[in-house]
Amino acid sequence: MPPSPDSSLIHARGLTKRFGDFVAVDAIDFDVAKGESFGFLGPNGAGKTSTMRMIGCVSPISDGELRVLDHDPGTEGPTIRARIGVVPQQDTLDTELTVRENLVLYGRYFGLSRAECGRRADELLDFAQLTDRQNDEVEPLSGGMKRRLTIARALINEPDLLLLDEPTTGLDPQARHLLWDRLYRLKQRGVTLVLTTHYMDEAEQLCDRLVVMDKAKIVAEGSPRQLIDRYSTKEVTELRFPAGVQETLDGKLDGLAERIERLADRVLLYADDGEAVAVAAHERGLEPETVLVRRSTLEDVFLRLTGRSLIE
């Protein structure tokens, strides 16, 4: 359930961001509750980063209402920023300094004593599995290590709210899983996470609740399960035909499934029993190159809501 407005850490109504004539975020409403893991799912350019920057109090809102930790970002930015942790889309580490120096200096920005910064740095190095690299410069570290350091750095002020803008974009699968594991631990400790992603598997792994954004607007809201139940079927049957065949199928697929989506390279048939659809297609004499029956994902939800794939 969405939180009630008075218990929420973030409360937005009609939140809008304009750059000149361009509307990046168009009057969106949402609330994030304490301890919740909340996601913005959407393709590039949907307005996710602009929303995150407004929540992070580094970009003024153009219109509407926004409260973060019960403060006004417009007038109390520094107070809010003191209590949040930010993992930006692009790393902002000082790559010429060591891993440890990056953590300690960042803690100093929050007015922590050197001793306290050192103590927290030790803990966070352990959490980020970077203890044995602490005295190395940041520059030669792998993308995954830099990302873990950025997350560790964002935790140095023991934030009430952690904002992660596309935390795993550009990482290889192993590095992503390691990062998800660390974020899952934070979630278990009760840290409130707000993240943006264009990976549906990431949203399914990490988010208790999410909103789907497209073209500056929120088009759906719910838990990953709810969204799939509401906007898709239990299963999907993917048929891939030899080149040129798909264009000749007019009408031959009608009635096979609740809903049919034709993509450039395959046809998606939505039904609760995917196996039965595959059998029925075969009985009609269709000869796809490959047949794949799978469970519905958020990707299907997005396709249903917008008519487009998340990652094109």
């Binding site: 992070g56 003191a82 902002t92 010429e96 960042y106």
Partner: protein, 259 residues
């Protein structure tokens, strides 16, 4: 105030990595210049009589000018690459802005750090001037703050400009058509009266000339001979520093808010 010191602390930790070579260079550069030009070239200049230099040896004339000019070059460098790097490459200023630090803290902290760096360079240079016997007054000590002021009269406007740039392409223009001509034609190596009269106004509008003339007055102890002019130099430099500090806060804030 405390936010500003955090920014300076970051710059100091960065500097710790390179300070040895940096201090060495700060010594080496004035020693080489004063030896080659002050003593070597100066030997020839002095043989033709010192009337044009107001009775000074060429070394005495050159040393304070070179102090101000060297500081200008260092300040210009400090106001270009570290600023564009913090905003566009490493993006460390964005990291700072995600914390309670304000754009103002970030801008002022960096400007103060530039002033500290320039003060270090000016101090080392002044020690070298004294060691060469080119100082003629205890007021030489005041040459340091004036040199810093001169440096900041460049660092300020250049930093304000750097914050508007996403690539260093235009920095070459600043150095090639700004810093280098001023270095040569602001009374550093010869009195501006030696320039054709139509070129002299270039020196008057050059912050470096004001800095050079004022530094020279202090190092040589001649400042009392023309107090009105010296005060004008000071007022112009202070005005440029104040206006460009304000401008730097504006351009850095605009850039940080835009993301």
């Amino acid at each position: 105030m405390t936010g500003l010191t955090r920014v300076i602390e970051h710059r100091a930790v960065q500097y710790r990595r390179t300070y040895r070579s940096s201090v060495f260079t700060s010594f080496l550069s004035p020693v080489l210049f004063l030896t080659a030009m002050g003593i070597g070239l100066g030997g020839y200049v002095d043989r033709s009589g010192g009337a044009a230099l107001g009775g000074l040896t060429y070394l005495q004339f050159l040393a304070p000018g070179l102090l101000a000019a060297t500081v200008m070059q260092s300040a210009a460098f400090e106001a270009t690459f570290p600023i564009i790097g913090g905003l566009n490459w490493q993006r460390t200023f964005h990291a700072m802005y995600a914390t309670p630090l304000s754009p103002r803290d970030i801008a002022l902290g960096n400007l103060v750090w530039m002033a500290i760096r320039v003060a270090m360079i000016a101090s080392v240079f002044t020690i070298v001037i004294v060691a060469f016997g080119a100082a003629h007054s205890p007021l030489v000590v005041l040459g340091i703050p004036v040199a810093v002021l001169t440096g900041m009269a460049f660092a300020g406007p250049i930093a304000a400009f750097s914050a508007t740039q996403r690539t260093p392409n235009r920095f070459n223009v600043i150095f090639r058509f700004g810093i280098t001509p001023l270095f040569l034609f602001s009374g550093t190596f010869f009195p501006i009266e030696s320039l054709p009269s139509f070129l002299q106004p270039i020196a008057w509008v050059s912050p470096l000339w004001h800095g050079v003339d004022l530094t020279r007055g202090l190092v040589l102890g001649t400042v009392a001979q023309n107090p009105g002019l010296m005060f004008a130099h000071l007022a112009i430099l202070v005005t440029i520093v104040a206006a460009s500090t304000w401008a730097t806060v504006q351009t850095i804030e605009r850039r940080l808010v835009r993301g």
